[in-house]
Amino acid sequence: MKITVVNMIPKSMSGETNQDSEPNLAVNPNNPLQIAATAFTPNPTGGAFAPIFISSDGGLTWALNAIVPGAVAGASTADITAKFGGTSNVLYGGIMRADNLDLNVLRTSNYASATPMTILETRGSEDQPWVQATTATGVSGSPDRVYIGNNDFNTAPKTATIDQSLNAATGAAPAGFGPITIASRTPSAAPAFSQGQNAPSIRPVIHSSGRIYAAYFNWTAFSLANMVTADVVVCRDDNWGSGGTPYTSLLDPAPPVGDGLAGVRVVRNTSIPWENSNFLGQERVGSHLSIAVDPKNSSRVFLAWADFPGGKAPYTIHLRSSVDGGATWSGDLRTVANGICPALAIDAIGNVGFLYQTLTGGGSTWETHIEISGNGFSTAPTPIVLATVPSATPVATFLPYLGDYIYLTAIGETFYGVFSANNTPNMAHFPNGVTYLRNANFTTQTLLNVDNKTPVAVSIDPFFFSIAETVFPPIRPITVQPIKVIEPIKVIEPIKVIEPIRSIEPIKTIGPVQPVVPVEPIEPAKPLKPK
């Protein structure tokens, strides 16, 4: 497994100290070397166009390309996400403009070109556009199909909406884009407010078969203490959202078990704090939601959201799955206390990636984790820690501090993601390594300006990562063999005491053998004379 983490601020922007939070990512499926990313990053020199981040080498290096309309000097967009079509190389964007907070749907056929993105759609009273796109290669003409979740206050109280186009790549504005209300129930925001609505997060996800899922929150109450009561809803369309009654393929169980309306309520009446202020560290909470579908099995879906379990702290991410197209759901596969920004993706061989950020160390540290499971989280994988950084520095200049969302996607068997974090150049903050493009001294843990001398203050930067060559084979069932009877242990005879070894006397040196004097021959005995 190869883990690559890159601080995305380019070298020429070494002097920047922006709070580059709420990142999003678009990897071109047709050429994964081409990647676009977004964040709350203003154009440093002002002008009418805000920047996107672009990479042409798979995320190893980055540049800012100022092509997003509606910029205001010193300000970024108020929301921005982007995605590539499947094979068209077209990049689509959804923004809340900096100059008037209107929704714009954007398009460019060349994400690296200096030509500004084309505006395809404009609408006021909107929130949080969330772009998903693909090329429908199984459809005649292989059109690009784009689905943009958004919270459209023009249709209150049912505000959960998808703006979609079934042929988005080339047509003149609006290129087929138009809104579809996907909320089937009438939300309530009583007693605090008289207008019902859905929550900001409306999250579509596309399967190549034309099956589109969308997750959203159905608010059923909003207390004076800013506590939301909400259902977590998943709806579905099985034909690209193109029928006369789109997004009604998945129904809640018939009464009395359910209400029979479109969209299964995965969880009912859960409690979610809506805190648009420093709540977790310096971050706000209130609408965290993610959904992913298995590219090789359109009925296998994973869902994550955050709430107060049982109405009580801590703010907790839940991860669940469905193997029947969203009709029924597992219990919690994972929970992450003090977690925000869940982001899910499933790779080409069914590995599930679960990215999130969690406040640890008694609130002192923001950690960014990814867990990758080869068995659908039947067992909890060991989290890969991408970043572990101080939560108190820098002081927030605005909210969100890190983002209302981060992003994870998979192309083939590689996961690609993006998150924002404190940018102190400290290797201990990045246990799996990191590369900085901006000038930095890791020895002194100091950011440096373009002159490579002048220190620069710590800020929040976007970080790209990829995890390649992931091989997480499913854990095979273990066959337990019957335990064999253990034979009784034979009594061991007492060990005999070993007598002390007697010391051996030193071997005496044997003197040289004296030469033996030759024996003189004995004369033969003379015969005795007779007496």
């Binding site: 020429s12 290096t61 540049a63 008037n100 690296a112």
Partner: protein, 243 residues
């Protein structure tokens, strides 16, 4: 040919530089063309803090056509950032020959631009008063004003009572004036004035926010809508000149 004043108003990054190479680029992701030039920055006249250390650095400028500059020539470039990668690429609004007084000309133009921004804001204001702010508190919306939407981009209106010293524009007869301000620190509102008790100065009160949406009552919403008391004479002069 546009004036330095006009060019400065249009440009976010103004610097003097010497042309090193025509038809070249310092950025690997930004291809050289016949209109690109690599220049070495010698002086910075106007720009964001993040580019303040670019003196001595090489920058790619996308020149306006037809290109008349030659290698070795110096000029003052009025630009906007285009591509920020390993190298910086800017697009020129225009360029002029170097002048010894360029720094003061640009500063003067920048000040004029700032004055113009404030003049416009004053012209748009419904009421301009001076005074000191009382302790702010959360604004309780009129329940008959209609349903409120819930969004992370909600301004979260708070109210402060201003003890009015003078009325500089518009009509107001009371000794105090309640003003609203966005208390939210959301990305859409964090630059709006955050009123604190004891803030004394000029308050530019509007009935629309900076996004042209109506507000519940007179409000300060734009960063220029509060001017410290020390700038009162400037405000008065701009009000007078704008009439």
């Amino acid at each position: 040919m546009p004036s330095v004043h006009d060019l400065t108003q249009q440009a976010g990054f103004v610097f003097e530089a010497e042309v090193e190479q025509l038809g070249a680029s310092t950025a690997s992701g930004f291809a050289a063309t016949s209109e690109t030039a690599v220049v070495r920055v010698t002086k910075i006249f106007k720009g964001p803090a993040s580019l303040a250390q670019f003196a001595g650095q090489r920058v790619t400028v996308v020149l306006q056509s037809p290109v008349s500059l030659k290698a070795g020539q110096s000029a003052s470039f009025f630009t906007h950032g285009l591509h920020y990668g390993e190298g910086l690429v800017v697009r020129e609004v225009g360029n002029v020959p170097p002048e010894a007084t360029m720094d003061s000309q640009v500063n003067s133009a920048a000040q004029a631009g700032s004055d113009n921004d404030l003049t416009q804001r004053l012209a748009q204001a419904d009421l301009v008063v001076t005074g000191v702010a009382g302790a702010p508190k959360k604004y309780v919306a009129d329940p008959t004003a209609g349903p409120r939407r819930i969004s992370e981009h909600d301004p979260d209106w708070w109210v402060s009572t201003i003890k009015v010293d003078s009325v500089e524009k518009g009509v107001h007869s009371g000794a105090t004036k309640d003003i609203l301000f966005p208390h939210s620190m959301d990305i859409a509102w964090h630059r709006s004035p955050k009123v604190k008790e004891g803030d004394r100065g000029t308050w530019l009160l509007h009935n629309r926010d900076q996004y042209s949406k109506s507000v519940p009552s007179h409000a300060v919403v734009h960063p220029l809508d509060f001017q410290p008391v020390a700038l009162l004479e400037r405000v008065r002069a701009l009000l007078k000149s704008g009439q």
